[in-house]
């Protein structure tokens, strides 16, 4: 038997053991056991004899698939076909790729007989830059906007994604933003420019068979869904639907699911109450609820199987403070909070590390049951925490999406060495980059000696052999052994330059990695992180090469290596790989932005909320070219976004974030506060205000805090 009968509440059992032709809507707060129902339901269907390949598990993001994958791979599992797990993006891409030659012409692509090129986030930004940069220079677009160009491009990409997900033509982006947000002609111009750029990018893509996320979702909706072969395929593969976290999905997913629900045999639609924190990625919880009408049965789970009574009380108190209906408290929420105020930020970091150490050493908490969360994770905070934990012998792992590729030390080292090895690019790196590259590349070389080597042996954009150091004392200081390693690296690069046979840049990285940097005596030897980051860089450079090689059918060829390095220099936001996120969670505390933690949808025993004075906990990112709410299905046409809307949004954002966090915390939240923030300012954001107000409302009694 795959599914034990006894481990579920009555409500859960009703979802798990529903008939094989029933459609069930299941709702409840995070941590109430909904995903357990979803997982058991899949196993139950297989037990019924439903063919695995007729089951589709549909999720808003891939990271949520883990509990399903693990259950399906359990040793006592079924024998048969494979259950499909998809997001809207993955299914759209797969279907467009498969049926491309049947739909390319109708979809408006200029070369329907050629293969399509699908663009990752990185490539979409690059292609966008190729289209837009001439416009910025020639037509003075966005002249009053002061943000990095990479963020400018990515916000235009974001607008196009919203159009595809919400369901309006890209030609309406500018008008929608203007009617809600344009306070004057200057702002109206910005939105006009954003509109023109989106249109230019779309035309560029159609002329070259390029498909960014917005375009392949659009083609899936418009062309694929009308194709008899594709419909037949989907009908056979989607007879039984399991949809989890439907509230985090977007209107395009909801429309697709509505279509499937009309014809599928059974369904379980799982909705997380009070959630929808992925609004910035198009989540629309209100729209999700419309799917309820397709279901025969509606079930609700109320009780958390994660939170203790005190944590539940804290969750309620914070939500009530931010406008949710107050619930009678069964416990004292103060017992779920531990805090200590500090004057300076480093003191807070030390206190956090001490508390983590105490939890592990004295209370036997497993490190992976501790999450250190901040609204944003700066390099300084990440480094400070990792160092403080390391000093106490605690392993930590951190994940930060939305990071530039060049920010990772291993990638930076490879890129700096590539610049030296390609003098014809005329992009010799500054000395400090070389010093860091040498320190990263050569095992045992510290920054002081790396800087000395750079000072003595890096001249005119070239490295020179170790023997060029005239002073024996200086050679001794570097050490003969490190000098030999330096020479091995220098010789490899010099031979490459002398051979005058420029390799594709990704191949260059792979050779440099395999022939030098991963060898004994070098910095990447047996270093798992360096290997993974190098591989991500290789993937990125290779994807770039493939796309541009294919583009040479339509455009003038460019120096691919040079073009790639320039792109990275522009601060391209790297693809964020889920495999890095999911790997090796055992034995290490997590350091992450709060929303990144929520991506994994897992609960921990203890959370540390850092920088609670920061307004980043409630404020949305500064996005002058886009707006997740105005470009949503729920925004009334013609309405104007006001300061009151912004304040209300702050409150709603914080409420859903705090509910999401507390419902994924079993025992206690530690609050990390310093009067002066990392940058030396006093912060009094909405989270701090909310915590103080919520605690003040409680009856006076001996405080735990």
């Amino acid at each position: 038997m795959l599914v034990p009968n006894s481990s579920f509440s009555a409500e859960q059992a009703a979802g798990v053991f529903a008939a094989a032709d029933e459609k069930v809507w299941l709702e409840g707060p995070a941590g109430s056991g909904k995903t357990s129902v979803g997982v058991a339901r899949v196993l139950r269907l297989l037990e019924f004899g439903v063919p695995a390949e007729s089951i589709l598990i549909f999720l808003p993001q891939r990271s949520l698939a883990q509990p399903y994958l693990e259950a399906l791979r359990a040793p006592s599992g079924y024998h048969g076909g494979q259950v499909a797990i998809h997001t809207l993006g993955s299914l759209s891409l797969r279907m467009v790729e498969t049926f491309w030659f049947l739909i390319a012409e109708e979809a408006g692509f200029k070369h329907p007989q050629d293969l399509p090129t699908f663009l990752s986030l990185e490539m979409a930004q690059y292609m966008m830059s190729r289209v837009i940069e001439p416009l910025l220079d020639q037509r003075d677009y966005f002249h009053s906007v002061r943000i990095e160009r990479a963020r400018l491009y990515s916000q235009i990409v974001d607008n196009m994604n919203k159009a595809a997900l919400v369901g309006f033509p890209i030609s309406e982006i500018g008008a929608r933003l203007k009617s809600a947000l344009a306070a004057g002609p200057e702002q109206a111009h910005i939105f006009d420019d954003a509109q023109a750029c989106a249109q230019a990018f779309r035309e560029h893509c159609l002329a070259r068979n390029l498909l960014d996320f917005s375009l392949y979702v659009e083609v899936f909706k418009q062309q694929i869904m009308g194709l008899p072969q594709a419909r037949a395929y989907l009908r056979s593969r989607c007879r039984h639907l399991i949809v989890d976290n439907v509230e985090e999905d977007n209107p395009a997913s909801h429309r697709f699911l509505a279509h499937l629900l009309e014809t599928c045999q059974s369904a379980l639609i799982i909705c997380d109450r009070d959630a929808g924190f992925r609004r910035f990625l198009g989540a629309d919880p209100q729209n999700a609820r419309r799917l309820r009408r397709f279901c025969d049965v509606s079930l609700e789970l109320k009780d958390s199987v994660v939170m203790g009574a005190e944590m539940q009380a804290l969750s309620n108190a914070l939500a009530a403070q931010l406008g949710a209906a107050a619930e009678a408290q069964q416990a004292d929420p103060r017992l779920a909070i531990i805090s200590e105020a500090h004057r300076y930020h480093p003191q807070m970091v030390d206190w956090v590390a001490d508390q983590v150490s105490r939890l592990i050493a004295e209370e036997g908490v497993a490190p992976e049951q501790i999450a250190l969360l901040a609204p944003f994770l700066s390099d300084a905070l990440r480094f400070g925490l990792a160092e403080a934990l390391d000093k106490r012998g605690i392993a930590a792992r951190s994940h930060r999406p939305s990071r530039a590729l060049r920010d990772e030390p291993a990638a930076r080292a490879l890129l700096a060495l590539a610049r030296i090895a390609h003098p014809h690019w005329r992009l010799a790196p500054p000395g400090m980059d070389i010093a860091f590259a040498l320190m990263t590349a050569i095992d045992g070389l510290d920054l002081v000696r790396a800087a000395l080597l750079t000072e003595m042996l890096y001249r005119g954009g070239k490295l020179h052999p170790f023997a060029d150091i005239q002073s024996a004392a200086m050679q001794d200081r570097i050490t003969f052994e490190l000098g030999q390693r330096y020479d091995a690296l220098y010789t490899w690069i010099q031979r490459y330059i002398d051979a005058k046979q420029t390799l594709a840049l990704d191949i260059f990285f792979r050779r440099l990695f395999g022939e030098v940097l991963s060898r004994v005596g070098f910095g990447f030897h047996r270093d798992v992180d360096a290997g993974n980051i190098s591989m991500n860089l290789v993937d990125s450079a290779r994807g770039f090469r493939w796309s541009l090689e294919f583009m040479s059918r339509y455009d003038e060829p460019v120096d691919l290596g040079l073009e790639y390095v320039k792109m990275v220099d522009r601060g391209l936001i790297a693809n964020f790989y889920l495999r890095d996120w999911l790997a090796d969670s055992d034995g290490a505390a997590l350091i992450a932005p709060a929303y990144t933690f929520l991506l994994s949808n897992r609960a921990v025993d203890y959370q540390f909320w850092l920088n609670i004075g920061s307004d980043g906990w409630s404020r949305r990112l500064y996005q002058p070219l886009t707006h997740p709410h105005v470009l949503s299905l729920q925004w009334p046409a013609g309405a104007v976004w006001t300061d009151d809307d912004e304040r209300e949004l702050d409150r709603r954002t914080l409420r859903s974030l705090l509910l999401a966090l507390t419902r994924r915390c079993r025992r206690a939240v530690y609050l990390g506060y310093s009067e002066l923030s990392e940058s030396g300012y006093e912060g009094r954001g909405l989270l701090l205000e909310t915590l103080q107000a919520a605690l003040r409302r409680l009856p006076r009694e001996e405080a735990h805090v």
Partner: protein, 273 residues
């Protein structure tokens, strides 16, 4: 070290273990990605892998309903691929049972672990034959004995026999199963391997022993046969020489690794800008 909860054995991972336990450990237990080159002639290797992947994709598209003439139009600039395609259409599908399933995956349990096989094509006739077709684009035909002993032949037939009941409409007698390797670059030469209950029992013993050995292993030693390191990208991790030569590489293995070189869009999360 434990296998991850979502791990399933495949012919590739078992083949890796048979070649070198250390490689198995690095690739599947530690999930270490390592960008060193497999062969010195990296671009030739890449082009060859991509062509093989495109060929497999073409057949999948065709079997899902995209007309052959439409697909053929996209091959105008690649004579070799067009030749493979024409041979696959003219010879590869001859005489097969009518119900055809492209790119189908079956999963089975074995010795407390999952075992998975991803088929290029399954052609079945309920009550009749169950044929596994595996397209190969290598120009050299391997020795029949080597192919019979190959982990792919062992795993694919065993998994179909043990997990194919639902798509066949009942348990498949092993004698009804046949695995055909079709070598499109060798004029469509077909090497067929019938199955039997005795062979299935022998395969089960072999696979159970291997899976059991991996499960129980406390150490994953490096192979002593350095020839096996020539095309292994962990060579520098183990201090084992230089990349091998393209002309000596067996593409039959690489063809089964659909992740080779592909950028997996599923792995890329959406982020806020």
């Amino acid at each position: 070290m434990k296998l991850s909860a979502d791990f399933a054995f495949t012919q590739g991972s078992l083949g890796d273990y048979a070649d070198c336990p250390r490689r198995f450990e690095l690739r599947y237990l530690r999930r270490m990605r390592y960008p060193a080159l497999e062969v010195r002639q990296a671009l030739d290797y890449e082009a060859r892998i991509r062509k093989g992947q495109r060929f497999h994709k073409l057949l999948q598209q065709h079997l899902l309903g995209v007309p052959a003439d439409l697909l053929a139009r996209s091959l105008a600039d690649d004579d070799e691929l067009r030749a493979w395609w024409e041979i696959a259409l003219s010879k590869g599908l001859d005489g097969l049972p009518r119900e055809r399933r492209a790119e189908t995956t079956l999963e089975s349990s074995l010795a407390g672990q999952r075992l998975l096989a991803k088929y290029d094509l399954l052609a079945l006739e309920p009550g009749g034959e169950a044929v596994i077709i595996d397209w190969k684009t290598g120009a050299r035909l391997p020795l029949r004995k080597a192919l019979a002993n190959r982990m792919q032949t062992v795993v694919y037939r065993y998994v179909l026999a043990s997990a194919g009941a639902q798509i066949y409409g009942g348990p498949i007698p092993p004698e009804r199963i046949r695995m055909d390797y079709v070598y499109v670059a060798a004029g469509g030469a077909r090497l067929s391997f019938p199955y039997s209950a005795a062979q299935m029992e022998a395969d089960e013993t072999r696979l159970t022993d291997m899976v059991g050995a991996i499960d129980a292993a406390a150490e994953f030693p490096l192979t002593e046969d350095e020839r096996r390191c020539r095309f292994c990208n962990y060579r520098s991790y183990c201090d084992r020489g230089e990349a091998g030569d393209f002309n000596d590489f067996d593409f039959d293995d690489a063809e089964e690794d659909e992740d080779a070189l592909a950028l997996d869009f599923d792995q890329i999360a959406e982020i806020e800008f």
